[in-house]
Amino acid sequence: MQLTEMSCRPSVAPVSFPLCGIALFFILVFWMIPGSPVNAAEMSVPNPGTDLWRDVRQRSADDMPAATPGIDLWKEMQLRYEGQTPLTGTTQVAGVESGHLINSIGDQWRRFRMEMLVPFGGYVLMGMLAFVVLFYLIRGRVPIQAGASDKVLFRYSLYERTIHWTIASTFLLQAFTGLIMMFGRSYLIPVIGHEGFSTLASLSIDLHNILGPVFLFALVLVFIKFLRRNIYQKGDLTWLLRGGGVIGKKHVPSNFFNMGEKSMFWLLVFVGGTIAISGLIMLFPSFGQGRVIMGLSHVAHGITAVAMTAVVIGHIYIGTVGMEGALEGMKTGYCDLHWAREHHDWWAQRCEDDGKAIHRKDIPSAGSKKASPGLTTGQTAENTAE
């Protein structure tokens, strides 16, 4: 003890060199003599713990009782956390997953939302908008080449238009409110502040949640009403291969709905259905679904909602500025004859063969209850779609 202290402190009076040499000599000599006190195992070093430490060193790790006996449990917990299996125990506190000690999916979900969904969702939507603008600048508005006709064909009944605009308005409101909640923290809080954005986000989430079941209901009605006309048929592949007429000059013939519209319908059914169902899973936490299910629902909801919004941007473009005469059918129920010939020629041909093309001045005014030609021709519109 004293020796080590001295060697550590140079300030202690230095021992002269010859004295050191003599001491070293004697130590070496004594070492060589067997049984000398230097070599003795029983040397009286004032360290009574030596035996204990030697004993500890000789014991194998397995024999050693751990200082923290729970260590194996924590190791297992760590492994299971990394393997995404929640370690479940028991607890007196009631509640969903209250026995889960660690939520293993939370961090993955956080990374998905913050590092993938929000930035890439933004890129996809901005990219789609840019694409539409670019497409318009290059291609321009698709005109009715034969010019507006004075004859029209009945295309959508009042009921069909109602469910279309119901699902359209609910989708747009939900997309808009969803985007507020997705990008608001980055772009709106710096502008309107925390309190202002909280009010806006609170209204947004309420509107978003209330419209969720409405969207699903409208989706079911749309599915039932438009299913028959949206079954893929011969000729749809040609339409797809020629990009709906973008590739090549000639128009690609199609039926009541073309390949693009049919695909839009099926996207709405499957992708829109996924959005609605995953949303409902998150909306009603009272059914006991856990965080894994809700986290996965959010992943599905986020991806499908961004994808559907991008598709709808394209749908809105082609229905309004992208094509002359496209909006008319969904607005008034009647479409221009020339437009129908150019875009849905098989259907237009059949309608003309049946003599269903009527003059513009024969269109019954909205709200008139007499004869209701809308309804009767509405049935024929569907029948001719076959």
Binding site: L52, V56, M64, P65, A66, A67, T68, P69, G70, D72, L73, M77, L87, G89, T90, T91, Q92, V93, G95, E97, S98, G99, H100, L101, I102, N103, S104, I105, G106, D107, W109, R110, R113, M114, M181, M182, G184, R185, I189, H194, E195, F197, S198, A201, S202, I205, N209, M282, L283, F284, P285, S286, R291, M294, G295, H298
Partner: protein
């Protein structure tokens, strides 16, 4: 500044749920909400351990990262708090939290989520310290009175500790050393030790300060 942390010693926790009860009573939390819970792993099996869990007041809190309205903030003491006037009850913090700390009172006609409630480290909320409004929304603000969270203060075995992380880690370090010394000097582990020490053994494992 201090960085406030909870520490629960699984070697000491006896699953008495005193912390849960104390928290519930002190903070007068809404029905269906428990800010703290005791989880028992391997209940009834050898190696059973219990842990008291609440908000861990993370340094990089996932709840704060994902909150779409940015209602979380970290106090100077390192306590993660949130503003219920800003919260919209979306539940994102609940998905992200590793410890299941955010709780939602069933609210509204369809029992959807109300505003989030979680452990505040007995530090209240953004309102005036110990005001009636703060107490109604967030419960007690013991930190402002110079006291530590009641759950830890009431813990009978001092398994649950709350306070400055430096102090807590020092206490825990001492406990570990003492347990290690117990193993070395007696050749038995803490786990195998019986409640009453066999007569053949002498000495005590815990140090007296």
């Amino acid at each position: 500044m201090a960085r406030m942390k909870f520490y629960c010693d699984a070697e000491r926790c006896i699953e008495c749920n005193g912390c849960v009860t104390a928290c519930k009573n002190e903070n007068e939390v809404p029905w269906g909400v428990n800010r703290r819970r005791v989880v028992t792993i391997k209940d009834g099996e050898p190696g059973e351990r219990s842990l008291s869990v609440a908000c861990m007041h993370c340094s990089d809190a996932p709840c704060a990262a994902v909150c779409p309205v940015d209602c979380f903030y970290t106090t100077e003491d390192g306590v993660v708090l949130h503003d219920k006037d800003i919260c919209i009850g979306c539940g994102y913090c609940f998905y992200a939290c590793p410890f299941g700390a955010p709780q939602f009172p069933a609210d509204g006609a369809f029992a959807t989520r109300g505003k989030m409630d979680k452990c505040t480290f007995c530090a209240g909320g953004p309102q005036q310290d110990n005001s009636a409004e703060e107490h109604r929304k967030y419960g007690s603000n013991r930190l402002a009175e110079g006291k530590l969270p009641l759950c830890a203060e009431i813990c009978s075995t001092k398994a649950l500790l709350a306070g400055d992380a430096d102090v807590l880690s020092e206490i825990y370090r001492k406990r570990i050393i003492n347990r290690g010394a117990s193993v070395l000097s007696r050749g038995i582990s803490y786990q195998n030790a019986t409640l009453r020490a066999p007569s053949g053994l002498s000495g005590k494992a815990t140090s007296k300060e």
